[in-house]
């Protein structure tokens, strides 16, 4: 199953945010989307998920245009991890994860023991089984993010789209979630994620797309694309890219 976009122009109504976007992600790939605030990452994700129509071009999921699929069919093909938010009602974390099963239930059906089992396994995988009975609204931002990732796993879709999955996590949980994403790609899921940290793209991206000033500024293998020159231009601060002993590369912005 591949998620692909061809000649995509995105925006809200008549307001065009970016155009000329082509990208693709399939089994075992991690496509990282970089771009400064306001470059249209979230709008792009909403378009990829079929939540808003593309202004031009087309998004396909497994070869079928997303616009012609039902919401349930889209949800069976691609799971979405939104940024952690605070809902109004205090569902237990277990129930929030269970909601990932909705696309596989009939209109009048309730989740059954098999669904509960899958939800429990997803929480186990992410290492949050102990949060199951806690109220989702009383968890920390990082814990909520982990619950949403577990929910996406419970959805059992071959594709995973994650909007800044590490944004509200502490240092340790960031590394943990990045490791989990790499493991998911290892299990042949296709992952598209946005991030503010080029290091994350360098660490686990198989491809990177850099969105800047309404167009794709660069695209390719992270090690080749993410140069000091490009990052300096896109983020507007001097950046140097260093290689650590062992070969891993990190981006270091100049401060002050």
């Amino acid at each position: 199953m591949r998620l692909a976009a061809e000649g995509l122009a995105i925006g809200h109504g008549r307001v065009r945010v970016a155009g000329g976007i082509s990208l693709s992600a399939g089994p075992g790939e991690v496509l990282c989307l970089l771009g400064p605030n306001g470059s249209g990452k979230t709008t792009l994700f909403r378009t990829l998920l079929g939540l808003i129509p593309a202004l031009e071009g087309e998004v396909t999921l497994g070869g079928d245009p997303a616009g012609r699929l039902s919401r349930a069919e889209i949800a069976r093909r691609v799971a979405f991890v939104p940024q952690a938010h605070l809902p109004v009602f205090p569902f237990p974390a277990r129930e929030v994860v269970l909601m990932g099963r909705s696309a596989r239930l009939g209109a009048f059906a309730q989740p059954g023991p098999a669904d509960r089992e899958i939800a429990a396994e997803a929480m186990e995988r992410i290492g949050i089984a102990d949060l199951a009975e806690r109220d989702y609204t009383r968890l920390s931002g990082g814990q909520r993010q982990l619950v949403l990732i577990a929910r996406a796993l419970a959805q059992e879709a071959p594709l995973l789209v994650m909007d800044e999955p590490t944004a509200s996590l502490d240092f340790g949980n960031q590394a943990r979630v990045l490791g989990e994403i790499a493991a998911l790609a290892g299990r042949n899921l296709g992952v598209v994620l946005s991030t503010h940290d080029p290091d994350h793209a360098l660490a686990l991206g198989t491809r990177v797309v850099v969105l800047h000033e309404g167009a794709i500024a660069a695209e390719g293998a992270p090690g080749e694309v993410l140069t000091a020159e490009l990052l300096t231009r896109v983020y507007g601060v001097p950046v140097s890219v260093e290689t650590l002993p062992g070969g891993r590369r990190v981006c270091v912005p100049a401060i002050g």
Partner: protein, 343 residues
Amino acid sequence: MGAGRRTLSGVRLGAGGVAPVALLALAVLAAAFLCLLAGPFEIGAGRALAILFGAEEGTREARVILGIRLPRVLAALLVGAALAAAGATYQAIFRNPLVSPDILGVSAGASLGAVLGIFLALPVAAIQGMAFAGGLGAVALVSAIGAAVRGRDPVLILILAGVVVGALAGAATSLLKVMADPYDQLPAITFWLLGSLAAVTGGDLWPTLPAVAVGLVPLVLLRWRINVLSLGDEEARTLGIEAARLRGLTIVCATLVTASVVALAGVVGWVGLVIPHLARMITGPGFGRLLPAAALMGAGYLLLTDTLARTMATTEIPLGILTAVVGAPFFLWLLMRGRRGWA
């Protein structure tokens, strides 16, 4: 942390599935029987039971129990259950624990319909029909506005449109009150706007009951999806739910339920706002358990309130006044407890 939920006193009750609902059902049943005994004409419990099981017919006592008190008790149960169930539904789908069944102009529209019916001196059945049509009409208008305004938060637009349509209907109702005959029509209008079950007869219940049932059944069936919808439209859509369609269907059902009982009892406020809060404290927000708990608590609450309304003083106190006197301070207390109160 144990499997339980905070209750009023902060004590944790088991969140176990059926037990709270079954207990509530028993309590409501017992209360209903006790309320059958309440009234100026004294009838003992044993005698009342005999009458209920058909062992006594044609006596004065039997006529009081079966002809006067039983319809009224059943009406109170039905109206309370319907308003609380509709309130729980609206709160879930609008993701706002402060909304009530009249949020989309149902009550205002139904009031306008009924007041117009009284003004035109129509028979009682026609007045109820007008109330029903007015309630549905107001919500249809609100939904049409919601569909016409695109590109904004659809929930916010619906609620604002409900306020606007409600205000317009309220203005039209006021105009009719000014024009109405002050000796004959105006008292009837006022009494109706305050809500009352005093005029309910057994025959009135029959058209209301199926209408309420038709509205409630889809809500029960869709209980899981309504949970998902309460996360918000976009998130529900990414989880595979056709959010706009589901909300539309749910609004139609909840409106049908509300309009049917407003047509029967007039405007009874606060029940649909306060009771779902209380129910949520016992069952948690899961709609599958919340809906029956809210319906039972609403039924019990309105039963007690209506029994007070008819027995407290020699003249009947309009129901809407009592529900406001009890509901408003309680709601204030909920607000002061802060966000915890949504639990």
